[in-house]
């Protein structure tokens, strides 16, 4: 089917039958990673402000972990992989309801 063709009604029904469940990326505390580095990664990769990135870094450091992104599972896996590229310890899990 052409990607430009209008979806038929059945597709729409299926989509409503299986609502998108939110997932999240969690970054965990690791003694190896420098605070300035974690802040920089959150700023440059997610585009977070310095304030937000610092707040998340503090949560990782003091509470042991922080939820850094929420959304569809596939997207969260892409983000987790990017965090692994930067050497951060990230996991993916279903968001709490």
């Amino acid at each position: 089917m052409s990607p430009l063709a209008a979806p038929d009604v059945e597709d729409i029904v299926e989509l409503t039958a299986a609502p998108l469940e939110p997932w999240e990326v969690v970054v965990w505390n690791d003694p190896v990673n420098l605070m300035s580095y974690v802040v920089r990664v959150f700023r440059t990769y997610f585009g977070y402000s310095l304030e937000r990135a610092t707040q998340l870094m503090r949560a990782v450091h003091h509470e042991g972990h922080a939820i850094v992104a929420t959304g569809p599972r596939e997207t969260m896996e892409v983000h987790a992989q990017a965090m692994h590229d930067y050497g951060l310890w990230a996991t993916v899990r279903k968001a709490a309801r």
Binding site: P31, V32, N33, L34, S36, Y37, R40, R43, T44, E77, A80, Q81, H84, D85, Y86, G87, W89, A90, T91, V92, R93
Partner: protein, 163 residues
């Protein structure tokens, strides 16, 4: 338009030592890599600690590419350090401690930061560093680990200036 550059100053002896470490790292993540090495596990952590099936399919789909990217990052750093290589034994002390200015292109900065971080992760794995207070100042390898952290901090500071 000319690309922004991050300047890092480093003694020849530091550059030569870093080049050696990056060479070793390049071998670790190279084509003959040992998937069972715990250091590889540290570089590519498990995304689903409670779901072995999901973790396995994630690993199967992504791990090789991730390690290939670490090798490419390491090559960027090796190229950047080329002028500082040399046989330390045949260098005079003045030569060894002479500071060099390394100009890292902005587009290469992340490869540098990721590589310095990856080197620390591998050393941390070898030394069993799992908590903030795991530290033994009598072990020379901790000296290398701390020095890499200092180098990384300076590079981040310089890189953040043009963020």
């Amino acid at each position: 338009m000319t690309e922004n550059v991050v300047h890092v100053r480093m003694a020849r002896v530091e550059g030569a030592q870093l080049a050696q470490l990056v060479d070793d790292f390049r071998e670790l993540v190279g084509s003959d890599r040992d998937a069972t090495d715990p250091a590889i596990g540290r570089l590519a952590p498990d995304p689903y600690p409670d779901d072995e099936d999901a973790s396995r399919s994630f690993r199967d789909a992504t791990r090789e590419d991730l390690l290939d990217r670490r090798a490419l990052d390491a090559d960027v750093v090796r190229a950047g350090l080329a002028e500082l290589r040399g046989d330390l034994d045949s260098m005079s002390q003045v030569e060894a401690f002479m500071e060099h200015d390394l100009a890292i292109r902005q587009s290469d900065v992340d490869a540098w930061l990721r590589t310095l971080t990856a080197l620390r992760l591998v050393i941390a794995e070898r030394l069993g560093i799992e908590n903030d207070d795991d530290h033994d100042s009598d072990d020379a390898r901790f000296g290398v680990y701390d020095w890499l952290g200092y180098r990384l901090e300076l590079t981040i500071e310089a890189a953040d200036e043009i963020l």
